[in-house]
Every structure is written in structure tokens, then in C-alpha cells.
Subunit: 227 residues, 2 copies
């Protein structure tokens, strides 16, 4: 898939990159497959410096360009206090995944649209993100039908066609960690926790998911947890 | 279309609103049809204060909420000087429409995704914008196929379905001005010019288009032009 015409063409991909386990394994996977990759981090104002540093450090070591789209203003529009309508306020650290959804409605479409814009600008072929098999049960915008509609829109938004790829869509998080181990991904440098501490808290939703996936993959978890 | 169940349900719509002729006529049209409307302006950092003031003033007179999404940071990511790739630099005031396209790649998708996010947040039914019959010959993201793909994505991005409507898609700018005259739109308060002067320059692409449309519609043009 990566090399066409006997190696003459390198596929070029924007990767939506959080510095977490899934997107870091995808970064290593794309590079191993010969893709030219640039990474885009999306910051809605709620991300901790620790996460952004993790992503930046991994990209620096790989010599991959990493840019951050600062969408704090979108967050304040879509969930700021100036909007007075009733919505459920996110509750506590244990429900951080649903918190992310609540804080910025339609976040995946907004994220993809900015990444597609960058791809159009650079005349890149693809936007990639690390959606996986466990996601779509929970979030409407992780459903395959949503991704297909966005892929169609991406191919039509400019005379230069961009396609959306989700190479891990049929894999579980456990599969992804096994693949990462094969690719010698530096898991200790990735960051999942939403609590913004010096080390992973070990207790929030994403920490629990991270721990369990390493365990079920049978891969040594190098993460330092605070609990 | 606006009133269902014998007047019990009012359709609620986010209108992507620039303060120009087309979207102002659409605002009046939606209100006349009984829609509940909130207006969203998108500012990529290139809009002049004059335009934003025009939109705000019209909304204030109509008692319609008007919010601005500040996406300056997106513009600096997608077309900032930190990106060193060669692109055609927009040339001169006469080509402002192509300039808009060049300045922010994929602007329509980004704009729609933010509007859809707001609609999801408010549990509104629609996002409306004033695409018309003349647009799609020029811009890839004004093609019906693009709008259909985005409509599909909008209906899937959340458990609450949002649909995209383009009530003027089969109308020319001339038709729109005739409709605006019927609806008593205060054309003198709308703003089209991209030059940021005190009055419309009369010479840029959008001023020329505005002038010609009033003329061919047979509607008195109240605009003060500088030339």
C-alpha cells in the first residue's frame, strides 16, 4: 500500500497524534511501512502540558514534524459559560472519556476537518487516525458510517483528493500493544492519563484501559503509575 | 417545513452568517418561515471589523443571537509562515474570492464542523448556509456531492442528528436579491467588500458581483461605493 510504481512514490500522510499508545503505535507503523508522516496535535485548551510534551518528544526523536492546532476558542464557543443551555456537567476523574465528548461536541469532525485542511495545503494523500475496534461501541462519531461519510467529504473538498485511513479499525487495543511491541515503540514515553500529574495516576478511565491492555497483550507495561 | 404537528414544533437552525447579502437574505427567509435561528460567524483572522460589525448589528436589530468562532489559530497553522512549502500567494484585491480559498484550505468543512458542533450542543435540528447556484462551478467544496457527504456526516456525528440545509442552492444571486427585496432586507446594512474600508470599494471581486446582481435583479442598490 505504501510504495507504488516500484518504489517511486511515497505516500504522504497527516497523522492525528495525541502522544498516547494507539496513535504512537500508528506513527511507528506508518513509518515502518514507508509513509512520509507529519503529526498534528489538537489542543482544545484542556490538554495538559505533559501530554503535549510527550508527543513533541517522540516526534523529535523520530525526526517527524509535529504541529499543534490550538482550538481553545472553539471549545469556549461550544461549551463556554456564555451558552446558558442545560447540559450535563462532566463528573469527576473516572469518566474522562465521556468528559472529552461533552466538552467539545463534534470533536472528531472538527479535528478531521483541520487535519484535512493541512493535507490539502501540503498536497498530502491521507489523513490517518488511530480509531480501533473498541471505539465505535461508545461514540457515535467512531462509527464506520461516520468515517465513511467524512472520507467521502475529504475526497470532494478540494480538487486535490485527500482520503481518510484508519489502519487499526479492526484491531483491539490489545492487538495494538502487541504490534507496538513488535515495532519497538517506546511505550514509556507515551502518555494517556488525563489528570495532568507527573506520572500516570493509574485510576482514571484511560489509565485503567491502558493497564488492562498491556496485561491482556502479555507485554511488559513500563508505565509508572502513581497509585 | 418549519412548523410541524400543527404549530407545536419550531425547527431550530444554526445559520453560518457573514453579514453579506446572501446569508442576510437567508436569515430573513428562515425567520419568516418560523425557524428559531442562532447565527455563527467564522473569523479566520482575516475578516475586517466592518464585516463583523455589520453582522452583529443586523442580528441585534432582529434580536437573534450572534456568536463568532475565532479560528485565527487554524489559519496560522494551515497557511502560516512556519509552513515552508511552496504555494501560490494570493495576488491583489481583484481576486479576493480565490484568496479566501487559498488562505484557509478546507474552510467550508472546518466552518461546517464548528457549526454542527454548536447545533449538537444546543440540540438544534439544522445547520444552514447560503450556498447558491453560482458557487459550485468555482469551488470544489461548493459541489452538491460535498454538501451531501457533510450532511451524512452531520447526521452521524452524534446520537442527536443534525442535518445541513441549503435553501438557496437552486437560486442565483439575482434570485436571492429579489427574494431579499420581498422580505424587506435592509441591504444597506449588509457588507460584502473585502477591502476593509469605510464604504464598499466597488472594485474588488465581491463588490463587482454585488453591484451586478442588484442591477440584473432590477432592485435599487442602496450600497455606497467608494469608486
Amino acid at each position: 500500500m505504501c510504495i507504488l510504481l516500484g518504489g517511486l512514490m511515497t505516500m504522504k500522510t497527516i497523522l492525528i497524534y495525541s502522544g498516547g499508545v494507539d496513535s504512537t503505535v500508528l506513527l511507528y507503523h506508518l513509518l515502518a511501512d514507508g509513509y512520509q508522516v507529519r503529526c498534528l496535535g489538537i489542543n482544545y485548551g484542556q490538554r495538559h502540558q505533559r501530554e503535549l510534551d510527550a508527543a513533541a518528544e517522540i516526534c523529535r526523536q523520530l525526526n517527524v514534524e509535529y504541529r499543534i492546532a490550538d482550538l481553545s476558542a472553539v471549545r469556549s464557543l461550544l461549551s463556554g459559560s456564555a451558552l446558558t443551555d442545560d447540559v450535563a456537567v462532566p463528573q469527576g476523574p473516572y469518566d474522562t472519556e465521556s468528559m472529552k465528548q461533552t466538552v467539545v461536541p463534534n470533536r472528531n469532525m472538527i479535528m478531521l476537518s483541520v487535519a484535512i485542511g493541512w493535507a490539502v495545503r501540503l498536497k498530502f494523500d491521507h489523513v490517518a487516525y488511530a480509531a480501533h475496534a473498541g471505539d465505535h461501541a461508545v461514540y457515535p462519531d467512531c462509527r464506520p458510517e461516520f468515517a465513511e461519510a467524512m472520507d467521502k467529504a475529504a475526497s470532494l473538498c478540494d480538487w486535490h483528493k485527500v482520503r481518510i485511513i484508519r489502519p487499526f479499525i479492526d484491531m483491539t487495543k490489545t492487538d495494538i500493544i502487541r504490534k507496538g511491541a513488535d515495532l519497538k515503540v517506546p511505550f514509556d514515553k507515551t502518555w494517556s492519563c488525563y489528570m495532568g500529574g507527573r506520572v500516570h495516576c493509574g485510576k482514571c478511565g484511560t489509565c485503567i484501559e491502558r493497564r488492562e491492555a498491556f496485561k491482556s497483550a502479555g507485554v511488559t507495561d513500563p508505565t509508572v503509575y502513581g497509585d
